[in-house]
């Protein structure tokens, strides 16, 4: 572990890659089937989020706004715009859930979401997500926690085979799917909350984006509390697991900071073996472990001479950096959007909470960039190879299909990074 600088002392962000809490909440609601995320704020917040995710996922995105305007912004506690929004939404479509989340504007006004929600006779989860606090990751976690708190029915029954997976926001749709499959292969019935694996996974459906399509069903959320086990992945999701345990004191919780690389996946497999009482994992797991080992060796010579800049949300960053480090890459600089306990675990020479100006100022310290689409200009200007990861990636199609976690994803990710570094070394 290197030096962790929790915050640069700058009065501004220059070329930020941080994203807001409301946007994280939006995404969490999009992982619920037939949901309508409803952002409470000025229409711009929603419009930005909609365009942003539409381009990233190459899919129409369901989302609505309470369209707070000058008049309501000053005079009203939010009641009118929210109530009217729900009325207008349900006049056109029949969501299984409305996911109400606030913004800086309405939080500054002090709108009482809870109070308004209590007056609405429609399945609705509300969550306070001011954009002047936290970021994408915490917004996702807060919305998930709100869904658990407001939807899940308490019980004391336990279904031993049932397992609830709480994935952090950095896990792609395919990663959630692979994680579900990995766990299910040990004999568990897995439900993920939120579940992007069947929602924003890039599938063609008869989608007019009137509502989210795919994801966990609201009914399934309501019945989550009889799970014997809850697994949180990413430090941001700890609170969600605790919230679920409050619904049923008999649920046992296991936390994984990440499920990446050899050691990260070993930890998961080891625990699953113990919990399932099995001697051996399924053959595919054994085989992919050997492939990851081989990929580590095949890529180590290249990665061992490669210094990496990695930027991203804390939980995702922790996983990517661990995978790279295990194969011998030197993560010389890791830059996170926000502070997090995850940062202390990152095996990088320098970890900071910052922006792409910081990345650019440290340009001499790395040879390869792993980060989002905003890094494209940086990589181009500094003449360095880029492996595109995280939000947003408007440069490429197929974002939900990128897979970096578990044995399998680690093997592909390491090969991709080594190949990117070598290609560049070849042509300079």
């Amino acid at each position: 572990m290197g030096e962790v600088m929790m915050k640069t002392r700058k009065p501004l962000q220059v070329n930020p890659f941080k994203l807001s809490q409301p946007m994280g909440a939006t995404l969490a609601f999009l992982g619920v089937d037939r949901c309508m995320p409803l952002m409470h704020g000025a229409m711009g917040c929603t419009s930005f989020a909609k365009v942003y995710y539409t381009r990233h996922f190459c899919e129409p995105i369901a989302i609505q706004t309470t369209a707070v305007t000058d008049v309501t912004a000053i005079l009203d506690g939010g009641d009118t715009s929210i109530v009217e929004a729900v009325k207008n939404i349900t006049a056109k479509v029949s969501p299984g859930l409305i996911g109400l989340h606030s913004t800086g504007l309405t939080e500054t006004k002090g709108d009482d979401l809870r109070g308004v929600a209590s007056k609405i006779d429609f399945p609705l989860v509300y969550v306070n997500t001011p954009d002047y606090e936290g970021g994408l990751e915490s917004g996702w976690a807060l919305a998930t926690q709100a869904m658990i708190e407001q939807l899940v029915a308490p019980t004391e029954e336990i279904n031993d085979d049932k397992l609830v997976l709480l994935p952090h926001v950095g896990l792609t749709s395919i990663e959630v799917e692979k994680l579900k499959e990995f766990i299910a292969a040990f004999g568990f019935d897995v439900l993920a909350l939120p579940d992007l694996s069947t929602a924003l996974d890039g599938h063609l459906g008869e989608k007019q984006a009137a509502l989210s399509s795919g994801g966990i069903a609201v009914g399934e959320i309501r019945r989550l509390a009889d799970a014997g086990l809850v697994v949180s992945v990413g430090d941001s999701m700890r609170g969600c697991a605790e919230a679920l345990q409050k619904k049923n004191p008999f649920i046992r919780h296991r936390h994984f900071a990440q499920v990446s690389g050899l050691s990260g996946t070993d930890a998961l497999a080891s625990w699953l073996l113990a919990e399932s009482g099995r001697e051996l994992p399924p053959p595919a797991v054994v085989r992919w472990r050997k492939r990851l080992q081989d990929a580590m060796l095949d890529s180590h010579f290249s990665l061992g001479q490669t210094r990496v800049l990695a930027v991203g949300e804390p939980d995702q960053l922790a996983g990517l950096c661990l995978t790279l480090h295990e194969a011998g890459a030197r993560v010389s600089v890791a830059i996170s959007t926000v502070a997090s306990s995850s940062l202390e675990k990152i095996p990088a020479e320098r970890v900071l909470v910052g922006d792409l100006e910081d990345a650019e100022n440290l340009g001499g310290d790395y040879d390869l960039v792993v980060g989002n689409g905003h890094c494209e200009a940086l990589a181009h200007r500094l003449h360095k190879p880029l492996v595109l990861r995280g939000f947003p990636n408007w440069e490429e199609v197929g974002n939900p299909l990128k897979h970096d976690v578990l044995y399998e994803g680690g093997a592909y990710f390491l090969c991709e990074c080594a190949n990117a570094a070598e290609k560049f070394r070849g042509h300079g």
Partner: protein, 450 residues
């Protein structure tokens, strides 16, 4: 100089193109049934293209974090392109409680120290407007201290939509920049291009023609624009308003204040481009210029026709349904017609009266003006045998079900469709769409489907 613009006044702007009957809807978006950006986004759109100015967004991360690097506005500015950079004070809880003015002051200092821009625009946002940060005072103080324009832009999201924001952006330019410097020299044919943002280089599709005609672009708001240039904009002989009604208030005020007439036109499609060039020449009122312009148009149209010839074969007999909003409902239609494609329907659900009239004029009496395109377009494709649907991504499934070609008119463009040359890009893209077998192939039924 300072002081916030009067929003109400701007909303009631006499030159507003919205028909009087639609004004209420235009001002107040419907909760739960609204799409479209806010005033802040509108201000961004109109001002960010100044690549030599830093654009500092005073607000929480949403406003800038999700919006920078989203527009392909090009610049020839040789220095670092600030349009493609993001600056924000990233207001936190602490700032909300104790005020963000100190942070803003420091942020301005940081930018000046590290990036030396020609000016700084400081954008108020919902939260910082609400907590009452006095950005006017801070901008004024910084401008005096550092000796360069520091322009406050009062377009927090909650005041309204994009159009209003663009107007507010124009207002800020008018108050703080226009008329604050003199050009080295002037010519009889100096014009300002207002509302041309040079997205994908649209401006460059016709700027060389203006140059050839001896027309000088004195300044722009704001495509490929420079701060030094816009400060001299009051010396132009003509304001040319390009496809941007939101800035008509600016041109009107400049007419009142500086006696600069304006013309409103578009460079989209062959006919509009020709008409636009001629309109400028005529507005400048020089008969020799008009004659030269007419000759140039003849030449350029002939050149275009020659290069379009291979496409005409492909487009012959092709019919298109167009489902998009605003002035695109007729401007794209016009361009399609220029290519020889028949436009059998266009969407006018949210259009103004003027746009509807224009659409009817371009499309002729037999075409359908769809008010509920989502419901109508499939039927019209069946009835007309249209081979091409131009719409937003949501309508893709309609095209697939009908097995016809689709073009996403809302997709971020990567190349310019403007001017004469841009029409060739459009032709290329539409030919690619029409010849692309993917729509047919994707429509294949799965073996397990009945």
């Amino acid at each position: 100089m300072a002081g916030k613009p009067k929003i109400k006044e701007l909303l009631n702007e006499s030159a507003c193109a919205h028909s009087p009957t639609k004004k209420a809807a235009c001002n107040a978006p419907t909760p739960g049934a609204t799409t479209g950006g806010c005033a802040f986004e509108g201000a961004q759109i109109s001002l960010f293209p100044y690549a030599d100015a830093a654009h500092l967004v005073h607000g929480p991360i949403t406003c800038l974090g999700a919006s920078w690097e989203t527009r392909a506005t090009k610049t020839s500015h040789p220095g670092r392109d600030f349009t493609q950079m993001g600056f924000t004070t990233d207001i936190t809880n602490n700032d909300v409680v104790f005020g963000g003015e100190g942070k803003l002051r420091d942020a301005i200092a940081h930018i000046l120290t590290h990036y030396a821009p020609s000016a700084i625009f400081v954008y108020a946002t919902c939260v910082t407007a609400l907590i009452g940060d006095d950005i006017d005072a801070i901008c004024k103080e910084a401008a005096e201290q550092y000796g360069l324009p520091v322009v406050p832009v009062h377009a927090p999201g909650f005041v309204g939509g994009k159009n209003l924001g663009s107007r507010l952006g124009g207002e800020a330019v008018l108050r703080h920049l226009i008329g604050t410097a003199e050009p080295e020299f002037t010519t009889d044919f100096d014009i300002n291009l207002i509302g041309e943002y040079n997205v994908t280089g649209d401006l460059w599709q016709y700027s060389h023609l203006l140059e050839e005609l001896g027309i000088r672009v004195l300044s722009t708001l704001s495509g490929d624009g420079r701060i030094a240039a816009i400060r001299t904009a009051h010396r132009a002989r003509l304001n040319v308003l390009v496809c941007a009604k939101s800035l008509i208030s600016l041109t009107r005020k400049m007419q009142e204040r500086y006696d600069i007439p304006f013309v409103s036109l578009s460079f989209y499609g062959k006919r509009d481009t020709s008409a636009g060039l001629l309109a400028i020449a005529e507005a400048l009122g020089d008969s020799d210029l008009i004659e030269r312009t007419q000759k140039l148009i003849v030449r350029e149209e002939a050149k275009l026709e020659e290069r379009l010839a291979p496409y005409r074969e492909v487009f012959r007999g092709k019919k298109a349904v167009l489902n998009t909003g605003g002035n695109k409902a007729w401007s794209i239609a016009a361009a399609l017609q220029d290519l020889g494609i028949e436009v059998v329907a266009t969407a006018v659900g949210k259009s103004t009266e003027a746009d509807r009239e224009k659409a009817r004029e371009y499309l002729g009496p037999d075409a359908v003006l769809m008010t509920k395109p989502g419901q109508e377009q499939a039927r019209i494709i069946d009835e007309t045998g249209a081979q091409l649907l131009l719409a937003g991504g949501r309508s893709l499934y309609t095209a697939i079900k009908k097995g016809i070609a689709f073009a996403d008119v809302n997709q971020e463009k990567k190349k310019s469709y403007g001017g004469y040359a841009g029409l060739l890009n459009l032709a290329e893209d539409l030919r690619n769409a029409l010849e692309n077998p993917v729509f047919r192939n994707v429509a294949r039924r799965a073996p397990w489907e009945k």
